[in-house]
């Protein structure tokens, strides 16, 4: 009787999860289906599978590639994402190490400042931020990296701090006795131990920066420095309200592929990084 009840409960859980998965996957599937359909058919029947009449092969992809700034925007996005993530991982891990190991009122205040920055919504600061970004000439690719570093620091410092707390200070003391200075201790001992958390921080920040639309739009605009999300939105515009939806869908597919590959490559580290330090090993 009990096992029957449990079976029923399990199946209902599965059903809910399957429905949820479908809801989450549906947009990607719809984009994928429509990227190989003619523009007219996308508007007419967006949810149907392509057939011999509606299927256009890779022509949407070729059009998206040739008639937009896809390549340039792609490399802009790669540049900004790679360097922002590298800066975030390197600098916030160092900051977190300092905050955890040097205990005084200053580091305590600094820690709470970082945590507080996590709960400030971007929309609240975007106008003043844009104003000062232009004033300080940060409206460039290197400039936006600095801004991303500021926005990503809160969560990253928080995550790194949690993990560093679980590393026995004795390991660092052993390194000091072995002959390491602070820089060597960080790069040869602490940073390698932080690898799972560093990968998690990289994934979370890379997904956010790669897909971010509002900040690059406000800071970099739609000129030569524009990123992929802005380029996709700007591209292939015809008359008023008219867009080549097929090519747009193809660009979207191409835009999400790198980040999906990156995620799949590193996803096993996400859980490991999130739970790292939660229990004594």
């Amino acid at each position: 009787m009990h096992s029957k009840k449990r079976n029923l409960f399990n199946w209902s859980i599965y059903a809910v999860l399957i429905i949820l998965s479908a809801v989450f996957l549906a947009p990607i599937l719809i984009i994928l289906l429509n990227s190989v359909k003619g523009s007219f058919y996308i508007a007419d029947s967006p949810f149907t599978l392509p057939d011999s009449e509606t299927f256009t092969g890779i022509s949407n992809y070729i059009k998206g590639f040739t008639q937009s700034d896809f390549i340039q925007a792609f490399f802009n996005s790669v540049f900004i994402t790679v360097f922002s993530v590298a800066a975030i991982v390197l600098l916030t891990s160092m900051t977190a190490w300092y905050i955890v190991r040097v205990k005084n009122i200053f580091t305590k205040a600094l820690y709470y400042l970082f945590v507080f920055s996590m709960i400030v919504p971007f929309q609240m600061v975007m106008y003043s931020l844009t104003y000062y970004a232009f004033e300080l000439n940060l409206n460039s690719k290197p400039g936006i990296i600095l801004i991303y570093l500021g926005f990503g620091a809160g969560l990253s410092v928080f995550m790194f701090s949690g993990f560093i707390k679980s590393i026995p200070a004795e390991i660092e003391e052993a390194a000091i006795i072995d002959g390491c200075g602070p820089v060597q201790t960080f790069f040869r001992i602490v940073l390698p131990i932080l690898k799972p958390t560093a990968i998690t921080v990289s994934i979370l920040n890379a997904m956010w920066i790669w897909n971010d639309y509002l900040l690059p739009y406000l800071i970099l605009g739609s000129g030569n420095d524009k990123t992929l999300p802005v380029a996709v939105q700007m591209a292939l515009s015809g008359g008023y309200g008219n867009k080549d939806m097929g090519a747009l869908m193809a660009m979207l597919v191409l835009a999400v592929i790198p980040i999906i590959i990156f995620y799949l490559f590193c996803q096993k580290y996400i859980i490991r990084g999130v739970i790292a330090g939660a229990v004594k090993g």
């Binding site: 052993a174 390194a175 006795i177 072995d178 001992i189 390698p192 131990i193 090993g281």
Partner: protein, 364 residues
């Protein structure tokens, strides 16, 4: 030569508000195995960390090998340290853990290889050189930590409760291995523990500390047979020494200790040293193992065991006298049902007498 000398060393925290070590002066000789022992918070680990250079010295002077090292960086003190939590580098293999310090010193690869293999052979670590620490047992990890210290060929070995995380069987095994290592390496060893068995079995000399002050610095034998004060007497020995407050009175030629309605005639040799304590209170210490079973009440105490503990070849008997709890350890094949009413006879030649006000030992 690798002696260590503390001269009026003190250690304070929080800008001088908290004093952990008020004034420490002692010398560890070359090639000596010295154990620092004491209860939690007595300052033994802080003392060790000051030798390592991991804690700054607030005042006084510390010499290693005759050189003042107060301001010398840990890496330049030519010491090696083994930590309680092993402190192995988790991302490196056993080989790399052991080779790390030599690599930092830019030692030639061939020499690194030779030294690591030498240590691995002594410590039976050869099959595990390519493993990461997480794939090793507690005992193996501790051996890697020892190996990491050995390859550096240090002047001084510092060991901070290295066996505390191991189970009882492994602890006994590692204990003898560390003692053997000391004999083999012929280097000065400073070892911190709160476990008096470790201290007594391994040390050439033991520093007993309490509240940052050295209570006694002596050989294990002396600490056991001639404790300097009540603290040392109570700390060294398991089960701990029994203490009884008694009044000394003279009747005729005999000096007697009177307690709880009982009387003990103090042997002549001890009585001479106690003459200035006539008609005063003293504290008598008697080790549990200095009781023996008596057949009748003559020169003995009648007790009713409260708890008995069988420890193998011996039985610990807990009993009360006038509300105070005492313990006797007797070698016996007594059956549990015979442990109802017993007569215990203390070996009066082995009584320890302490000054009741200063707690210092008067005579052993």
């Amino acid at each position: 030569m690798s002696s260590i000398e503390f001269r009026n060393v003190n250690k304070t925290f929080d800008g001088g508000k908290v004093t952990v070590i008020p004034n420490l002066s002692f010398e560890i000789k070359d090639k000596e195995f010295v154990v620092l022992v004491g209860p939690s918070g007595c300052g033994k680990s802080t003392t060790l960390r000051m030798i390592a250079g991991l804690e700054e010295i607030s005042g006084g002077e510390l010499y290693i090998d005759g050189t003042l090292v107060n301001n010398v960086a840990p890496k330049d003190r030519n010491i090696a340290m083994v930590f309680q939590s092993y402190a192995l580098y988790p991302h490196m293999t056993v080989y790399k853990n052991m080779a790390f310090a030599l690599k930092l010193k830019k030692t030639p690869k061939k020499e690194i290889d030779e030294k690591v293999m030498w240590a691995a052979k002594i410590l039976d670590l050869e099959p595990y050189l390519n493993r990461k620490p997480r794939a090793l047992s507690g005992g193996q990890r501790q051996r890697v930590a020892l190996g990491r210290a050995m390859v550096r060929n240090p002047k001084v070995f510092l060991l901070d409760e290295p066996l505390s995380n191991l189970d009882a069987k492994l602890r006994t095994e590692m204990r003898s291995q560390i003692s053997l290592l000391h004999k083999r390496l012929e280097t000065t060893f400073v070892y911190v523990t709160h476990d008096q068995t470790e201290a007594l079995t391994m040390a050439d000399r033991i520093v007993v500390m309490d509240k940052g002050i050295i209570q006694q610095f002596d050989t294990p034998e002396k600490l056991y047979s001639e404790p300097a004060n009540l603290f040392v007497a109570g700390f060294i020995g398991s089960p701990q020494m029994n203490f009884i407050e008694a009044d000394l009175t003279r009747r005729g030629n005999n000096l007697k200790a009177v307690f709880n309605g009982n009387e003990i005639i103090i042997p002549e040799e001890k009585a001479r040293k106690l003459s200035s304590y006539e008609n005063k209170s003293v504290i008598i210490g008697i080790r549990p193992e200095d009781f023996s079973l008596a057949k009748n009440g003559k020169d003995s105490i009648e007790i009713e065991p409260e708890i008995t503990e069988m420890t193998g070849s011996e039985i610990n008997i807990y009993f009360r006298l006038d509300g105070n709890r005492y313990i006797a350890k007797i070698k016996s094949d007594l059956k549990p049902d015979s442990l109802r009413t017993l007569y215990l006879k203390p070996d009066i030649r082995k009584l320890h007498f302490f000054d009741a006000s200063t707690t210092r030992a008067i005579v052993h």
